[in-house]
């Protein structure tokens, strides 16, 4: 089946997600699939060579990796909270799952299992959408993070069929799927014996606090489909009532706090270019590049503060260690409070560039070229880390195009001789 441009967008009541997945898988497509509902609820599925590489569901009740880890009984709420608290101090640092691996709460294999499960469960839930639109944008798109092993569409399709079949009779009682919000009915039918087994009691006791099927499942550390099966009879028998709460577009709580959508990257890039144009010599250019790193970290601190969070003092240092760019040749950047010590760096540059007079042109030129490469690497890594906190792949791509245009201009100077 050859793919037709007209099949790349359309209405979900013409083609269901299972059919779209098969079409994209069969044609080994690479790109992003957008699913949109009238209430602005959007989901994004990333494809690489026809396999599902990652998936993002943009609403406040979306399935998080923390939910999956708890539902698979791989981590407790306290462990997730501890890892999240650590993550909140450094948006440029590790992901929640990676932190949990570092904390030895889970193994790397368990993290992969949880990430694959998250993708599969999101996709099977999205397949329930019968209204809305789909649009596939071919090409390389940046996934927000490195995901698990790509998920084969055949496996996803089989799971969708199984899930849809099982969900069909339950849909009447849980109309918003796993996001269905519930409350206790304090005036239950008189005919009900009101005797429950332990599992059911466990669920009932959490309804008031956690409300949605998904959050209840996370709280009791059981897979959400199992919990949904137990909840359906409670709704059917009138013990629980479905609340008519609409799902809000956006990000789930933890992701929303870490989001850097409001970081004004474009204005920062414009200001960097203007400063760069005023540089008169290689020394000023190197100092400007180091200053750009500081400026980016300063703006990040401000954006974070506006989100009510405090950036860890070691965020930049950790980034440099991870990227293996803690210095230039023998020189180590002096970093304090996420700022490179510009005075110290300037002195080092002056000494190295003055080699122009003493040790010959190549020494100074080599230093300049290497220092430029290192500083551009740091800037690029910082931008990439910020970009990974932006949910729209199109915006991420636009951001990257803008900074690459700027860095290409800086790199043009990387040929002093």
């Amino acid at each position: 089946m050859a793919i037709n441009q007209q099949l790349l967008r359309g209405s979900l009541n013409e083609f269901g997600l299972a059919e779209i997945l098969q079409m994209l898988g069969f044609n080994r497509m690479t790109g992003v699939l957008y699913l949109r509902q009238a209430n602005r609820w959007t989901a994004i599925i990333y494809f690489v060579d026809g396999a599902i590489a990652a998936c993002t569901d943009l609403h406040t009740e979306a399935l998080t990796i923390g939910d999956v880890l708890q539902q698979l009984n791989l981590a407790t709420a306290e462990q997730i909270e501890r890892a999240y608290a650590q993550q909140l101090t450094n948006p440029l640092g590790k992901r929640l799952g990676e932190i949990l691996v570092d904390m030895r709460t889970i193994t790397p294999e368990q993290l992969n299992e949880a990430l694959s499960t998250q993708v599969l469960w999101i996709v099977r839930e999205l397949a329930r959408w019968s209204q809305g639109t789909y649009e596939f944008l071919p090409g390389q798109h940046l996934a927000p993070r490195t995901g698990p092993e790509p998920l084969d569409v055949t496996r996803a399709t089989m799971e969708i069929l199984r899930y849809t079949h099982e969900w069909e009779p339950m849909a009447r009682w849980l109309p918003n799927g796993m996001c269905t919000q519930l409350k206790m009915n304090f005036d239950p039918p008189a005919s009900h014996p009101l005797t429950f087994d332990l599992d059911t009691w466990q669920l009932i006791s959490r309804v008031t606090m956690f409300q949605s099927v998904r959050r209840i499942a996370t709280a009791v550390r059981r897979p959400e489909l199992d919990v949904a099966r137990l909840i359906v009879p409670l709704v059917r028998d009138g013990l629980l009532t479905v609340l008519n709460t609409a799902t809000k577009p956006g990000l789930p709580g933890p992701a929303a706090r870490l989001s850097l959508e409001s970081f004004d990257l474009f204005s920062l890039l414009i200001s960097m270019e203007q400063r760069w144009l005023r540089c008169k010599n290689p020394l000023e250019q190197l100092i400007a590049l180091a200053t750009f790193v500081n400026q980016t970290m300063g703006n990040l601190t401000e954006t974070y503060r506006a989100n009510g969070l405090a950036l860890s003092d070691t965020s930049l240092q950790e980034l440099l260690v991870r990227e293996r760019v803690t210095g230039i040749d023998g020189y180590q950047f002096k970093i304090r409070d996420n700022q490179i010590d510009i005075e110290d760096f300037s002195q080092h540059c002056r000494r190295s560039l003055s080699g122009l007079e003493t040790a010959g042109i190549s020494t100074a030129a080599d230093f300049f070229n290497h220092a430029t490469q290192v500083l551009l690497h740091i800037l690029r890594a910082t931008f990439m880390a910020i970009n990974s906190r932006v949910s729209s792949p199109i915006e991420r791509q636009q951001n990257q195009e803008a900074w690459e245009a700027l860095l290409a201009g800086f790199a043009g100077a990387e040929s002093m001789n």
């Binding site: 004004d264 474009f266 204005s267 414009i270 400063r275 636009q398 195009e401 803008a402 245009a405 201009g409």
Partner: protein, 127 residues
């Protein structure tokens, strides 16, 4: 009045950023690295007449003031609103911009919101 904005700036970074910011805010945008290329594209019918022109002053080949004069001399561009972009912040530059018919003057470095607001004060975005 439509909502097509033309950006003429020799910086690829500025062009990408301004174009993207305008599109994110519901405006159409095209951009060119210099005025001659832009005018050629307009004369050859490759792009429609813009409703607003964001024009850098320090352009290669022919500077922004001269491009503005060319625009103002052609009847076809009579309704095109011109806003100058410049790294220079002197009164003299601003006055020169006025004299060639510019309705606004934005100094670099600018916040992207500043550019979008300036465009929005003349054009309406598509929803």
């Amino acid at each position: 009045m439509g909502n097509l904005v033309m950006v003429i700036d020799d910086s690829l970074t500025v062009r990408k950023i301004v174009e993207t910011s305008l599109r994110r805010n519901g405006f159409e945008a095209v951009s060119f690295p210099d005025g001659i290329e832009a005018i050629n594209a307009l004369m050859n019918g490759e792009v429609p007449t813009p409703d607003l022109l964001l024009l850098d002053i320090g352009l290669p080949k022919v500077d922004g003031y001269e491009i503005a004069r060319i625009f103002k001399r052609k009847e076809r561009f009579g309704k095109t609103i011109i806003i100058m972009l410049s790294g220079r912040d002197g009164m003299f530059d601003k006055l020169k911009g006025r004299l060639v018919g510019a309705k606004g003057y934005i100094t670099k470095p600018f916040k992207t919101a500043e550019v979008v607001d300036a465009v929005r004060s003349f054009l309406s975005p598509t929803q």
